[in-house]
């Protein structure tokens, strides 16, 4: 079981690294799927099979598909890949990576010094029934809030995604002549 975890963890990290280094979005998304699947395996090894299933269905399934749909709607071409390549210059990596590593180092340090109490001896397997009971027991308020959130998300997505007749934002209206001028230059 432990070895499964480590393999899955390695796959997840490697796949994620691949995601963040790709220029082509579709490639990146495929690696993302891999990463999500690997994390799902980690969930299994952690004794959370239901969550693993959800991870596969919602993340690797629904969300990624949604993104792919959008990419398809935008009909990206080879130029976009080139564009991406142009944006992602190596020197850009330095700063963010440094910051992130400092943060990671601090996290590791915190983990190292933390005195983690020993886990209870019983199996760490938590089945879906327990989750369901807890979810609709003490956490029912959270469920309702999530419902509202999703509702808001749907309404928001509908509202934002609607193709209105070209309403240009007032900032853009002011910006437009400037753009033309810079283009002329």
């Amino acid at each position: 079981m432990e070895i499964t975890f480590y393999i899955a963890a390695t796959v997840a990290v490697l796949a994620t690294v691949m995601v963040i280094t790709r220029y082509n979005m579709i490639h990146a998304l495929l690696y993302l799927v891999v990463s999500f699947l690997a994390v799902a395996v980690v969930f299994l090894t952690m004794g959370a099979p239901f969550m693993a299933a959800l991870e596969v269905i919602v993340y690797a399934g629904a969300i990624v598909v949604l993104i792919i749909f959008v990419i398809m709607m935008l009909s990206l071409t080879r130029e976009d890949v080139e564009q991406e390549k142009a944006w992602l210059q190596p020197k850009l990596w330095i700063g963010p990576a440094l910051l992130s590593f400092v943060l990671l180092a601090e996290l590791v340090y915190l983990l190292a010094i933390a005195e983690v109490p020993t886990a209870p001896s019983v199996a760490s397997y938590v089945d879906a029934q327990a989750v369901g009971l807890a979810l609709y027991g003490p956490y029912v308020l959270g469920v309702q809030l999530s419902g509202i959130l999703l509702m808001a998300g749907i309404v928001g997505a509908y509202h934002l995604g609607r193709q209105k007749k070209k309403v240009i934002h007032r900032f853009l209206q002011q910006q437009e002549p400037q753009k033309e001028r810079s283009a002329a230059l």
Binding site: V19, I63, V126, G142
Partner: protein
């Protein structure tokens, strides 16, 4: 089932989160940024699962469900925004949408 040390699990979550974070910071393409945010959310969810598994309690998983819900909502709204940005600006460059600069 031998328990995996909680530190290891959390370390994995941390690493994934860092990778997502780096990506958010370097990418200009809005879709890539969205993907990176998904990675980070997933990492956070992982941390909850790890902790829940360590204590053998359902709460961690419940939190993951909430994160999942949130991620779904976020993606839908985010993608709608991306569509709008693309229609208005004809580009996916997030730096182009800097009209709110002070």
């Amino acid at each position: 089932m031998t328990a995996i040390p909680i530190e290891t699990g959390l370390l994995l979550a941390g690493v994934l989160f860092m990778l997502g974070l780096i990506s958010v910071m370097i990418r200009r393409n809005v879709i890539f940024m969205l993907i990176s945010v998904e990675i980070m959310l997933n990492a956070a969810g992982l941390a909850f699962i790890v902790a829940g598994s360590h204590w053998a309690q359902p709460d961690g998983q419940i939190m993951f469900i909430f994160i999942l819900t949130m991620a779904a909502a976020e993606v839908s709204v985010g993608l709608a925004l991306i569509l709008q940005i693309y229609h208005q600006l004809k580009t996916l460059n997030s730096d182009a949408a800097n009209f709110m600069k002070g």
